[in-house]
């Protein structure tokens, strides 16, 4: 998928309903339930082995860039809007993108010595996504909670979320992914249905990489 360069301001780039997104081509990313057998603890596997979860089948991904920023627009089916986190059983809806930081980084949350960078948006903090880094299941650490801006809306049983960030971070560091015009990049995705108490590995995820090229 080509991430086209457009000459628009950040406000439009970041708005999931901006006209510019109408012209962008979507990639349909297939999602599957993260298997119960892959859950890292016996409790989680036992609790969820016979319960449906990760039922979103597909995520529509669009991506654009302008002179300085890159934005990913993610849209997926979500019957209910869950954006509150007060009751003990409240789990907000969420979506995440995973960028490999090394050649060997597996798309399943990375591995030892093969980290991944995660952009994690959750509906209780609708205006930003967290930038985490992980080297395997259960190891994610928050690096930065502010620099990925987000805008989201829930309508007609769908979430549409745009995550937007500077192409080159002002303070480059390990774990922060950098984007360079002309380069190839890949990402995988995950979606959580908060209304179904989904969190951690109880999610839908893409079992293959989405290959992209960033227009210069």
């Amino acid at each position: 998928m080509l991430i086209r360069r457009v000459d628009i301001d950040a406000a439009q780039l970041g708005d999931p309903d901006a006209a510019v997104w109408g012209g962008a081509k979507a990639a349909a990313v297939s999602l599957v339930q993260a298997p119960a057998a892959m859950q890292p603890t016996r409790y989680i596997a036992a609790k969820w082995q016979n319960r449906p979860y990760g039922q979103a089948k597909s995520l529509a991904v669009k991506a654009l860039r302008n002179a300085e920023q890159i934005a990913f627009r993610l849209e997926w089916p979500a019957k209910t809007k869950n954006d509150r986190r007060i009751e003990n059983t409240d789990f907000p809806d969420a979506v995440a993108m995973l960028f490999p930081l090394s050649e060997q980084s597996p798309l399943i949350m990375g591995g030892e010595g093969a980290p991944v960078s995660l952009w994690y948006w959750r509906a209780d903090h609708p205006a930003r996504a967290r930038n985490d880094v992980a080297s395997g299941i259960g190891t994610s650490q928050v690096l930065d909670a502010e620099s990925v801006a987000a805008q989201a809306r829930h309508r007609d049983g769908h979430w549409a979320v745009v995550m937007r960030r500077a192409l080159r971070p002002t303070a480059p560091m390990d774990g922060i992914v950098e984007f360079t015009g002309g380069q190839a990049l890949r990402a995988s995705f995950a979606v959580w249905d908060g209304g179904n108490l989904e969190r951690a590995g109880i999610k839908a995820f893409s079992p293959s990489w989405l290959e992209m090229t960033l227009e210069d």
Binding site: Q39, P40, T41, R42, Y43, I44, A46, K47, R85, I86, E87, N88, T89, D90, E112, G136, I137, G138, T139, S140, L197, R199, A200, G201
Partner: protein, 358 residues
């Protein structure tokens, strides 16, 4: 602690339970508990006063028989089944724990309505509560003239095979090797709350402001300085013993291993709790004509066995026998141990420091 570490104490690896080198434990003598709740309040004042902790009560005192805190916790699942497999459970809601109420103090005290309304609580949803953290206090069970209840103080049991620790996908819960205290690392915790499901005693709370799980910490900052946990030190009933299980000179070892009068609560949950209970004696049951039946205590034996296991009968018999010896002026090491003549040395000899002197 990352999930790929293989040596997490309290976790089962290849069928073996990785145990701490020493284990701190508590024994609660239920013959002495008045249900005064000083323990609950001392813990609350010490640890759970911050925003997001309003509904947290790490130390509770439930009336038994009763539904307790959270409501009906004994039947919510969690822990391990007879085959050692995790038993699925659910996260109790704030209402089931008994949410933090607000009171209409303004209208009663300052709003001039003191004569037309009364001080009353409302839930966070603004409704009259129909459950609280100690709602069924003193209701008990049984039928007159044999109604009965006793108090059951409960904290995190700092289990040897903790279901919470094993449930956490981030390895955010760890058991200390030197003393067996089980703690949630609140930097590693992401508020997934599988621990809340897995704990069969339902002693973990959710802080929605910080998005982490929180629970009793065995007052480890006090314990590390030789000061007893707040709940134990403040207890006016002198019923909360604290010490190491392996210390043969200490009260814990004597009550649990020597005299064997301290029993685990719901051992069938499989978590190997390190808080033990001396079961309560009760007066004999009586019929409507006032005739006493000494063979049947007011608190039914079967009920106590359902809590503390099959040894209750022999433990109660031993307590009666030792009480009788003492009453006749004969010596009884067990009774002297339980009475706690000298405080704090007889009850937590390793933790006698006064926190005011630190």
């Amino acid at each position: 602690m990352a999930m790929n570490e293989k040596n997490i104490i309290g976790r089962e690896l290849e069928g073996t339970l990785h145990k701490p080198s020493r284990q701190l434990a508590m024994v609660f003598d239920l013959n002495k508990c008045l249900g005064c709740h000083t323990c609950s309040i001392s813990c609350k004042r010490q640890w759970t006063r911050d925003e997001g902790m309003e509904q947290q009560w790490w130390a509770v005192v439930n009336t038994q028989p009763g539904l307790g805190t959270p409501k009906n916790w004994e039947h919510l699942g969690g822990g391990w089944d007879a085959k050692g497999e995790p038993r699925p459970s659910n996260i109790p809601t704030r209402d089931e724990f008994g949410d933090a109420w607000k009171f209409n103090k303004d209208e009663v005290f300052h709003g001039g309505k003191g004569k037309v309304t009364y001080l009353k609580p409302v839930t966070t949803k603004g409704e009259a509560p129909d459950w609280g953290p100690n709602w069924d206090e003193d209701e008990g069970g049984g039928e007159y003239p044999n109604s009965h209840f006793f108090y059951l103080p409960r904290i995190c049991n700092h289990c040897t095979h903790p279901a919470c620790l094993e449930a956490c996908p981030r390895g955010a819960i760890y058991k200390r090797a030197d003393d067996g205290i089980v703690l949630i690392n609140d930097k590693q915790c992401k508020g997934f709350r599988f621990c809340m499901e897995a704990c069969p005693y339902k002693r973990i709370y959710y802080n929605h402001v910080r998005d982490v799980g929180q629970k009793c910490i065995f007052c480890f900052p006090r314990v590390e300085k030789g000061v007893a946990p707040a709940c134990a030190r403040q207890c006016p009933g002198r019923l909360r013993f604290v010490g190491y299980l392996d210390d043969e000179n200490g009260p814990i070892h004597k009550l649990v291993h020597k005299f064997k009068v301290a029993l685990p609560l719901h051992q069938e949950y499989g978590t190997q709790p390190n808080v033990y209970y001396v079961p309560p004696l009760s007066p004999p049951s009586v019929d409507m004509n006032g005739r006493v039946d000494p063979s049947r205590p007011r608190i039914p034996l079967e009920y106590l066995e359902g809590l503390f296991g099959p040894r209750v009968k022999e433990v109660l018999a031993l307590l009666e026998a030792e009480k009788a010896k003492k009453a006749k002026g004969q010596p009884s090491e067990l009774m002297d141990l339980l009475i706690v003549y000298k405080w704090p040395n007889d009850i937590f000899p390793d933790f006698v420091r006064d926190p005011a002197e630190l």
